[in-house]
Amino acid sequence: MMKRNTLWRLEETVMKVLMSGATALALGCLLLILGAVVWKGLPAMNLDMVTQPPQGGYYTGAGGGILNAILGSLCLALGATVVALVLGVPIALYLQIYAGRSRLVELVRLALDVLWGIPSIVYGAFGFSLMLLMGLRASLLGGIIALSLVELPIMCRAIEEVLKMVPFELTESAYALGTTRWEVAWKVMVRQALPGLTSAILLAFGRGIGDAASVLFTAGYTDHLPTSLLRPVASLPLAVFFQLATPFPAVQERAYASALVLTAIVLLISVLSRLASNRLSRYVVK
C-alpha cells in the first residue's frame, strides 16, 4: 500500500509539471503570435507601405501603402490620450487626495473599474449615438471622442495606482510646511509620480492605437491622409481588417505588413514605457 506521503509527493510533482506547462503554453502563444506576424509581415513589407497613401486600384493590388492608416492611427490615439489625460489626472488626484475614504469615492472607483470592462464596441455605439445627436459624421473628432472614453478608465486607474505609491511622509511634510492641497496635488504628487504617469500615458496610448471596434463606427475609413478633425480618418487596425477581407492575395499580404507595423508600434510603446519608468524614477524622492 502506498503511503499518503508518497501520494502527496506524486501529486506535487504532477501539479508542478502542469503549472509550468500552462505558463509555458501562454508564453508559447505569445511567441507564436509575434512569430506569425513577423514571418508573414516581413516579406510583404517595403518602403512604399510606410511612406505612401493608397493609390488608385490599391485594393485590387495596385501601388501605394498605408501611410493614411499609420498617420490616422497616430492622430486618433494621440488625440484620445490627450483628452483622457486631461480628464484623468484631475479625477485620479481627486480620488486620491481630496476625497478621503468616503462612500462617493468608493462608488466612483467601482464605476471606473466597471467602465474598464465595458466592451469597446459598446463605446463605439455610444460614441456613434453622441455624434448623431451633435450632427457629426464619421470623423477624426468622432473617433477621438469614442477612443478617449475607452482610454479614460485605463488612464484613471493607472494614475491612481501610481499616486498611491507616493510616500505618505512626503505629502504630510508638504502639508506641514503650510501648503494647500492644490499645491500638494500638482507640485508634490504629480512630480513624484512622473515615472508612473509616463507609463500610464503610454499604456493608454498603446491600448488606444490597437482598438478597432470603437473607431469602426466613429472614425470611418478613408484613403486620404488626415487633414481635418471633421473628416473621416483611416486607422491601422481597420486597415488590417479591411485588407484581409479582400479576395486578392496581394492585398491580403499588405494586411500582414500592416499588422506588423501595428504590432511594432505597440511593442515599441511597451518597451518605452518600461524604460521611461526606470529612467525617470531617478528624479523621485525615495
Binding site: M19, L32, V108, G117, I118, I121, P237, L244
Partner: protein, 293 residues
C-alpha cells in the same frame, strides 16, 4: 475635480440611457420575448430575433472559458506560489505584453494559424474519432472558421486578465495561513489546494467572471474567425455569429432599413447589461476580499 469624478461615474448611466433611447423604437414595436428568443433574423421583413446571436456568443465564450480557466488557474498559482522571483520578473512583463496585443492581430493570427490547424488537423481527427457525436462533427462546416477557432483565440486573449487578477487574489491571502498549513507537514500543493484556494475562492471566481465578461464583449478577433452565420451552432466546428460581430458587421447598411439601427443598438444594450452585471458582481467580490485580507 469632484464633479469631473462624479461625471466619469455617471458616464455609465449616460451610455445606458443613450443606447436605450436609440433602441427604443424596436423595444416599443416588438415584445422583448420575441426579440430575445426569436430565431429568425430578417431585417428587411421586420423580423429581429437575437436568439442565434445570443447563443453564438454564449458558445464561443463558454468554450473560451473552458480552455482558459484551468490553464489560468495553474499559471496564476505557479506565479504566486512556486516561481522563483527571477522567473516572475521575466514572465510578468511578457504576460502584460500578451494583454497589449491589438485584437485584430489576434484575429490575423487566428486566420493564419488557428483556422488552418483546425481545418487540416483538429477537425478531421475529431471527426474520425468522435464524429458520431453531433457536438464534435465537422460535417456542417469543415472550413475551420467556427466556434472552436473563436474559443481558442478568446482563451488566449483573456489569459492575461484572468491570471493577473487571480495572482493578486492569491497573494492577498495572509502568509500565516500558508505557514500554519506547511508547519503541519503537508506539501506545498496540498497547502494550495486545501488552504489557499479555499480561502481565495471568491476572488478566483471574480477573476473568472471578469475574464468571461471580457470574452463576451470582444469583437474584432472573434468576428474574423468565427464564420458569421446566423444559426444556433450544434457542434464546436459550426460557424456562429456573436452579438458583437452582428453590430460591427452591419453598421454600414443599418441606416437604410427601418428599425435596423434600433435593433443593433438593442444588441448593444444587451451586451452592456450583461457585462455590467458581471463586472459589478466581480468587483464587489474583489473589494470584499481586499477588506478581509
Amino acid at each position: 475635480m469632484g464633479w469631473l469624478a462624479v461625471g466619469a461615474a455617471l458616464l455609465m448611466v449616460a451610455i445606458g440611457t443613450a443606447l436605450l433611447i436609440r433602441a427604443w423604437p424596436i423595444l416599443r414595436s416588438h415584445p422583448l420575448k420575441e426579440l430575445l428568443l426569436g430565431r429568425t433574423w430578417h431585417p428587411l421583413q421586420g423580423a429581429f430575433g437575437f436568439w442565434p446571436f445570443i447563443v453564438g456568443t454564449l458558445w464561443v465564450t463558454a468554450l473560451a472559458m473552458a480552455i482558459a480557466v484551468p490553464l489560468c488557474t495553474l499559471c496564476a498559482i505557479y506565479l504566486a506560489e512556486y516561481a522563483p522571483s527571477a522567473v516572475q520578473r521575466a514572465v510578468k512583463p511578457l504576460i502584460d505584453l500578451l494583454a497589449g496585443i491589438p485584437s485584430v492581430v489576434y484575429g490575423l493570427w487566428g486566420v493564419l494559424a488557428v483556422v488552418p490547424l483546425i481545418r487540416e488537423h483538429v477537425g478531421p481527427w475529431m471527426d474520425r474519432h468522435l464524429g458520431h457525436v453531433a457536438f464534435f462533427s465537422t460535417a456542417a462546416n469543415p472550413t475551420g472558421y467556427g466556434v472552436l477557432a473563436g474559443g481558442i483565440i478568446l482563451a488566449v486573449m483573456v489569459f492575461p486578465i484572468i491570471v493577473s487578477v487571480m495572482e493578486e487574489v492569491l497573494r492577498s491571502v495572509p502568509d500565516g495561513l500558508r505557514e500554519a498549513a506547511l508547519a503541519l507537514g503537508v506539501t506545498r500543493w496540498i497547502m494550495v489546494r486545501k488552504v489557499l484556494l479555499r480561502r481565495a475562492l471568491p476572488g478566483v471566481i471574480a477573476a473568472i467572471v471578469l475574464g468571461f465578461s471580457r470574452a463576451f464583449g470582444e469583437t474584432m478577433a472573434v468576428l474574423m474567425v468565427v464564420g458569421n452565420v446566423p444559426q444556433v451552432p450544434l457542434s464546436i466546428f459550426d460557424a456562429a455569429y456573436p452579438l458583437t460581430a452582428l453590430i460591427a458587421n452591419n453598421y454600414g447598411e443599418m441606416m437604410s432599413v427601418p428599425l435596423y439601427d434600433a435593433a443593433l443598438m438593442a444588441a448593444g444594450l444587451v451586451l452592456l447589461l450583461v457585462v455590467l452585471v458581471f463586472n459589478v458582481l466581480a468587483q464587489v467580490i474583489l473589494r470584499r476580499m481586499k477588506k478581509m485580507a
